[in-house]
């Protein structure tokens, strides 16, 4: 796991300020007000985004991915870390 994704039990949550999004079926359309950029999240990212909206942990995200998509834990960990890393780099996670 990369350093910027937090420990397994560290609470992860999307930023509350200047971040607005709408859900369409299996897609999230978001506006990052600070950077004035639109984002689209699809597929498994939508599930992760939903969980991050109400705050969660890395461990829970991995479990959710394994359970929903029937993939092994190693791949789920890699996917979650990559996704969380991207969100973190864009400043979309609450500090």
């Amino acid at each position: 796991m990369t350093n910027n994704t937090g420990g397994d039990n560290m609470t992860l949550c999307l930023r509350k300020e200047d971040l607005d999004w709408r859900e369409i079926d299996d897609e999230i359309v978001a506006l990052d007000g600070r950077e004035a950029t639109y984002l689209a999240v699809q597929g498994s990212g939508t599930l992760v985004w939903r969980l991050l909206a109400t705050s969660t942990t890395r461990e829970h995200l991995i479990e959710a991915l394994v359970e929903t998509y029937d993939i092994d834990a190693t791949r789920a960990e890699a996917d979650i870390d990559a996704f969380i890393g991207t969100l973190n780099d864009r400043g979309l996670l609450a500090s």
């Binding site: 999004w21 709408r22 369409i24 079926d25 897609e27 359309v29 978001a30 506006l31």
Partner: protein
């Protein structure tokens, strides 16, 4: 959502389900409701409906920031009407489409200049003088239209800006300092605005009015319509709404010149022309009907701004040859 209107949304659901195709859904502004309904029912969602949803989502996430910027740039009172203000009254706000922000303000020129100074860009020209040229914020697919008064029915007196501003409350969008119209006034304005575009033409416009207006506000809306001199227009609209979304019997318009509404289909070319002529008869005070019908006859035969005389003749000839063509096919 208006808590008193569960029957409204059930009826709307039925009207959406019976729409004969995408063109009808688009005409009645039901695309987003249809996409949601089909997904809820486990049916495939047409790619065009998904595109409409995606565009609506982009607009929806942009609204808050855009309105906040507008509010901070302009010193004068600002009243949001239609679009996102109405969406807040929908059962599912994301299902009410909008492509612009209509804002009533007492000094349109000053507000316009303030927004340009803040970085908004002017696009196009004003369509009929009822609002300033639309503005956009670069990269955001939403137009901002400033009005001193809403688009209104020809030969009816337009309420003054002062009177309109006296009938406001904090906007349902929750933006600090932004106002919206009280439901009774908003409903009457929506009815007049819709009628100005085409008498009883689109179901979505009638859904807006029904969503905004609760039973408690209905009496007040009747008073406002009477005071504004649009009592007949308002009554015809209310009766149509009662028939379409309530338990009322179909009114004469719904059985004749606006019968496309009961089938959720597009109007035919002939029906639209008939509706234009019937509109003044049903909406205007009796002494103004002849002049109103004259206006509409002129509108039907005269050239549009962008047409050459040959284009106009061709359009008239085609309308006479294909009176039973749905309006979207005729335009194409």
């Amino acid at each position: 959502m208006n808590p008193e209107t569960p029957q409204l949304w059930s009826k709307v659901d039925g009207l959406v389900a019976q729409a004969p195709g995408l063109a009808a859904l688009r005409h009645h502004r039901f695309e987003l409701l249809a996409a949601r309904q089909r997904r809820t029912r486990g049916l495939p969602v047409d790619p065009l409906l998904r595109s409409a949803e995606r565009l609506a989502a982009v607009r929806s996430v942009s609204v808050r920031q855009l309105l906040t910027m507008i509010r901070s740039a302009v010193d004068h009172p600002l009243v949001l009407m239609k679009g996102p203000e109405v969406a807040e009254c929908y059962q599912f706000p994301q299902c009410r489409p909008f492509g612009d922000l209509d804002i009533v303000t007492p000094d349109v020129d000053a507000a316009f200049a303030a927004l340009v100074r803040a970085g908004f860009t002017e696009i196009g020209i004003s369509d009929a003088g009822h609002h300033a040229p639309p503005l956009v914020w670069p990269g955001v697919p939403l137009k901002v239209e400033l009005h001193s008064a809403p688009k209104y029915v020809a030969r009816l007196p337009v309420p003054s800006t002062e009177e309109l501003l006296s009938l406001t409350r904090p906007s349902l969008t929750g933006i600090d300092g932004l106002a919206g119209f009280v439901p009774s006034a908003h409903a009457v304005l929506l009815a007049a605005h819709a009628w100005a575009h085409g008498p009883l033409e689109r179901l979505g416009q009638l859904v807006d009015i029904a969503a905004v207006l609760s039973e408690d506000d209905a009496g007040r809306a009747d008073e406002i319509a009477r005071d504004w001199g649009c009592r007949r227009l308002w009554r015809v609209t209310r009766v149509a709404i009662d028939a379409l979304f309530g338990d009322g019997a179909p009114s004469v318009p719904l059985r004749t010149w606006a019968r496309h509404l009961t089938g959720s289909r597009e109007p035919l070319v002939a029906e639209r022309s008939l509706a234009r002529l019937a509109g003044p008869v049903w909406a205007l005070p009796r002494r103004r009907i002849p002049a109103g019908v004259g206006d509409e006859l002129l509108r039907i035969v005269q050239r549009c701004e962008w047409e050459t005389r040959d284009d106009q003749l061709l359009r008239s000839r085609q309308a006479l040859r294909h009176p039973f063509t749905p309006v979207s096919e005729f335009r194409a």
